[in-house]
Amino acid sequence: MTTYIIRRLLLVPVLLFGVTVLIFGMLQFLSPVERTALYVRDFPKNEKAIEGLIKRYGFDQPFYVQYWTWLVGKVDKTTGEREGGIVYGNFGYSRSASQPVAELIQRRFPNTLDLTIWAVAPMILIGIWLGVQAAVHHNGFIDQAARVFSIVGTSFPTFVFGLLMLLIFYANLHWFSPGRLSDEFNRVIESDAFRHYTTVLTIDALLNGRFDVFLDALRHMFLPILTLSYINWATFLRVTRGSMLETLRMEYVNTARAMGLPERDVIFKHAQPNAMLPVLTLAGFSIVGLLGGVVITETVFNFPGIGSAAARAATSLDVVAMLGFALFNGFILIVANLVVDVLYAFVDPRVRLS
């Protein structure tokens, strides 16, 4: 187990290196002038400005020089100060967000984390619950209904579902609005009285005893949560159902039945725990996916998370920000996968033994 973890950890820098080289490589499709496009939002009034920007940011230099500069930074010959350099913890400046990348991630990630915390439970639990029901009542009405329901869910493009939710709950009913927080509560959390313990808004609101802020934050997250859940239930439903059906046909379940245990206990005490293993893996991957930011959902609901920032960076070809997000994402993914694997080993004795 330990050697396994060490091996995985050793792989981390290799993978991150691969990811950054890949992104850098993709950008080589663009000519220096095209890469300058991010720095000029409209045609510069002074024609010479583009040359200046190309020179200043070294876009005309070969691939490996640019990569190396990004990695270790550039020393200003006159002042001796080092600019940039990822190994010195300087992630650079995002033009699309007009702020340093590190600050951007720091500001956006707690929001994404908040959304993840609240979206995970309904997304996974309802999927599992429906899946178990569908398996227990195999080919019965519940099974068919749950499947149709979930298929419709997977068939909805996220943004169409999101737009429809906005149409109903925002434009018509005025129940839930997009964004992060209402203005009045924005003022509350910016006041000095509101202490930011964790920077995760809902948790901070509870710690400060401000239930109004807490509820307002939840109200703003309700539609994104609903959207994420509905579209993801289906996967959980399918995996749970399949796994459950398989388990229910195993010998030991039949034995339990034969011993006269009530069907309830057979299903929920004996079959379900074993059927949950593949679901656990899936849940792990889903959470990791959410932590990386959900591009479309955050964009549709104007939610200030990592995903919407990343979408913006990608569409405006903000190289520096894209690299920052990729590094961050890769890091989260690798660590989270590791955690999932270790947890898995604890849950499943077969993995532990091998």
Partner: protein, 691 residues
């Protein structure tokens, strides 16, 4: 597994409670939705039913102005380097300049940080008397040397992406657009700090000395003297913009800026906004201070209580980034935002809710009286949508105020490329076969004046103005704008005329056999036809439509004439235009200063002239006119000079001026005191209040 069910039921209950909260919140909690209902109901119960209608519109928070922008993304707050309107808006509200615009006038100036000024008889030396008793936000006193330092710093920091070229020309002479050219007239040092530092140090110091001798402060007398390289008609407009704002020398030095020494200035030359210590902090003398700066989210300005004049009426101004139009619309409807950016495409949604409006009166050059709306017709265009109330009639009580009809200071011009770049190695993808065979155009297609005129006659201005701008634009007849020397309300211009278009095509001689296309037995453009692509930058719906209109009318004149519209992503568009590959394009220009020079320079000898590959002799003709124009200070004489430029531009059909849009701005009804000077980069909050 029981646990899971417990959890699940908890979750269901929680979500039910949540949705219940959501459902009842607008009535139970003081949430966003009901601020207006409260505000509108409260007075009516107090004052009874016969209260005047306007009294119903009260903001919940009368001292805070909330502005919902699509984007809150400033480049830098360093006045010397900021050259985007978002930054300039903040700078204009927090920093101050020597002179400022007189209300809504674009060409009259009032004292601001300068109490008075004098211009020497030769038109080359300005002496400004600096106001005393002015303090910066952080308490420093304003001195004459602060003023001189700010201008010196700006010129020396230079760089081609900054606005300093506007100041460099009056101080160093026409054509010298950056301080690096003063150091090395060869122009090898543009934007390159390393090369500049390595350059002959005597020349480097000399450039700085030159700047310092041109701008001299006398702290005892409280004056600053500026000596120009040549008489410069539009000098006051140039220093009234954000790049003429005054910073505190001691504060700049404290925060790691230039120390004022001629030995170190090169270390600050051509600075990028990301490395600039003054990109995110502000210490000006203006009526507002920067309270919060979260780029990409919001900017909060707070009232400067120790302002040298009467403090502003608003306590705070919040600029919020709200990217989705729908959300901004909802904020306006709920009264949560006082001002919002409304895309032209979505104006009709707001128009329906307008209760009071003002139409700009072109003749009087000011907005007309406020009128209540009594009728709304969505099939009409622009101001004609609204019917004003007759005396004694009560309006529709719509919640918004609309100001409409003022021409903007931005113009679109249809441009042709006289010598389209193409070569064996990189064949131009936008000109088809590159030959006159009906499947492309030759590279010199547009160097034939008849072709250019034919295109001009084939542009359907009517459709552009009515369909694209819903009647909220006027056709431009010339480059200068109304109110400038060189603007003539009626002058020779092109209008849509398919017969003329056909006649001009038949006069063209593209195979250069000396026989016009209409009579050419071997066939010419009229019989072969052509195929050309007109690119526009993706996302710019207006430019897309301009291309489609042109394509439609050309095809109706001769079905062999094929213009394909092509949306290019911004980077590709930038590259193609830089490489002079685009055969046809729409150019837009937003003026820096309200002066014809700022219009003719880019469209002939400058930026766009270059992209059009104008031949040297044409450029020389224009350069001659422009040099005479800019050094002349008498407006009437200048008008005559620019009239020559107008005629030349029209005769050669260098470009086809398309349109100037007219303003269409919304606010809540309670927003008062707005100064709508079109040259302002954004809102000027000092005079605003809510009532």
């Amino acid at each position: 597994m029981r646990k899971m069910f417990a959890l699940l039921s908890l979750l269901v209950i929680a979500s039910m409670a949540l949705s219940a909260c959501g459902g009842t919140a607008p009535t139970a909690a003081p949430s966003t939705g009901d601020t207006t209902t409260e505000a509108t109901e409260a007075p009516s119960t107090d004052t009874g039913t016969d209260a005047p209608a306007a009294a119903e519109f009260k903001s919940a928070d009368p001292t805070t102005m909330v502005v919902a922008n699509a984007e809150v993304a400033t480049d830098t707050f360093d006045p010397a380097l900021a050259y985007d309107t978002a930054s300039a808006e903040i700078i204009q509200n927090t920093y101050e300049t020597l002179v400022f615009y007189d209300g809504e006038a674009t060409d009259k100036f009032v004292p601001m940080l300068a109490e008075s000024w004098e211009l020497s008889a030769d038109g080359m030396t300005y002496t400004f008397k600096i106001r005393s008793g002015v303090k910066f936000h952080e308490g420093q006193d304003l001195t004459a040397s602060d003023v001189a330092y700010s201008f010196q710093r700006g010129l020396l920091q230079g760089g081609t992406s900054s606005p300093q070229w506007l100041l460099a020309e009056p101080f160093f002479g026409v054509g010298v657009d950056d301080v690096s050219v003063v150091v090395d007239p060869e122009g090898t040092l543009y934007d390159d700090r390393e090369l500049l530092s390595a350059f002959d140090s005597a020349a480097v110091v000399a450039a700085c000395e030159k700047v310092k001798s041109a701008i001299v402060a006398d702290d005892a007398a409280g004056t600053v003297t500026m000596t120009l390289a040549q008489p410069w008609g539009p000098f006051l407009p140039t220093i009234a913009q954000s790049w003429g704002a005054i910073m505190s020398q001691s504060w700049v030095v404290e925060n790691g800026g230039w120390d004022g020494s001629c030995d170190t200035w090169q270390n600050f030359y051509g600075m990028a906004s990301a490395d600039n210590p003054f990109s995110g902090i502000i210490n000006g003398t203006g009526p507002f201070t920067l309270e919060k700066f979260a780029n990409g989210e919001e900017i909060i300005l707070a009232r400067n209580e120790s302002y040298w004049a009467e403090p502003a009426k608003l306590e705070r101004v919040i600029l919020k980034q709200v990217p989705e139009w729908g959300t901004r619309f909802a904020m306006m409807q709920a009264g949560d935002a006082d001002l919002a950016v409304v895309p032209a495409a979505n104006r009709s949604q707001m128009d329906e809710l307008v209760g009071i409006y003002q139409v700009f009166d072109l003749a009087a050059n000011t907005y007309g009286p406020e009128q209540e709306v009594c009728g709304y017709d969505d099939s009409a265009l622009a101001a004609a949508k609204f019917t004003a109330c007759a005396a004694g009639e009560t309006g529709n009580n719509g919640q918004f105020r609309l100001r409409i009809g003022r021409p903007a200071l931005q113009m679109d011009v249809l441009l042709t490329n006289w010598n389209i770049a193409t070569s064996e190695e990189s064949p131009n993808p936008y000109i088809g076969s590159g030959a006159l065979d009906g499947n492309g155009i030759p590279a010199d297609f547009f160097s034939d004046v008849h072709i250019r005129k034919a295109f001009a006659y084939c542009f359907d201005f009517e459709t552009l103005l009515n369909d694209v701008f819903s009647g909220e634009a006027v056709q431009s007849y010339q480059l200068p704008l109304a109110g400038m020397p060189g603007y003539f309300p009626d002058t020779a211009h092109y209008s849509y005329d398919p017969a003329q278009c056909e006649a001009e095509f038949k006069l063209a001689d593209l195979d250069k056999d000396g026989i016009a296309a209409g009579d050419d037995p071997e066939g010419d453009v009229w019989t072969t036809g052509f195929r050309v692509q007109m690119g526009y930058n993706q996302g710019n719906a207006t430019r897309q439509t301009i291309a489609e209109i042109l394509a439609g009318s050309l095809a109706s004149v001769n079905e062999l004439f094929l213009v394909e519209t092509l949306g290019l992503p911004w980077p590709a568009y930038l590259r193609a235009q830089r490489a002079k590959q685009l055969p046809l394009m729409t150019g837009g220009w937003l003026e820096d200063i309200h002066d014809p020079h700022n219009w003719y320079q880019p469209y002939t000898t400058g930026t766009y002239g270059g992209r059009q590959s104008l031949p040297d002799d044409v450029k020389a003709q224009f350069r001659d006119i422009l040099e005479r124009g800019v050094s002349e200070t008498d407006p009437a004489a200048r008008a005559e000079i620019y009239k020559e430029a107008n005629t030349l531009y029209y005769d050669l059909a260098v470009g086809i001026p398309l349109n100037v849009t007219t303003s269409h701005g919304f606010s809540q009804r309670w927003v008062q005191g707005v100064v709508l000077n079109p040259i302002f980069p954004g809102n000027y909050f000092y005079t605003m209040y809510k009532d």
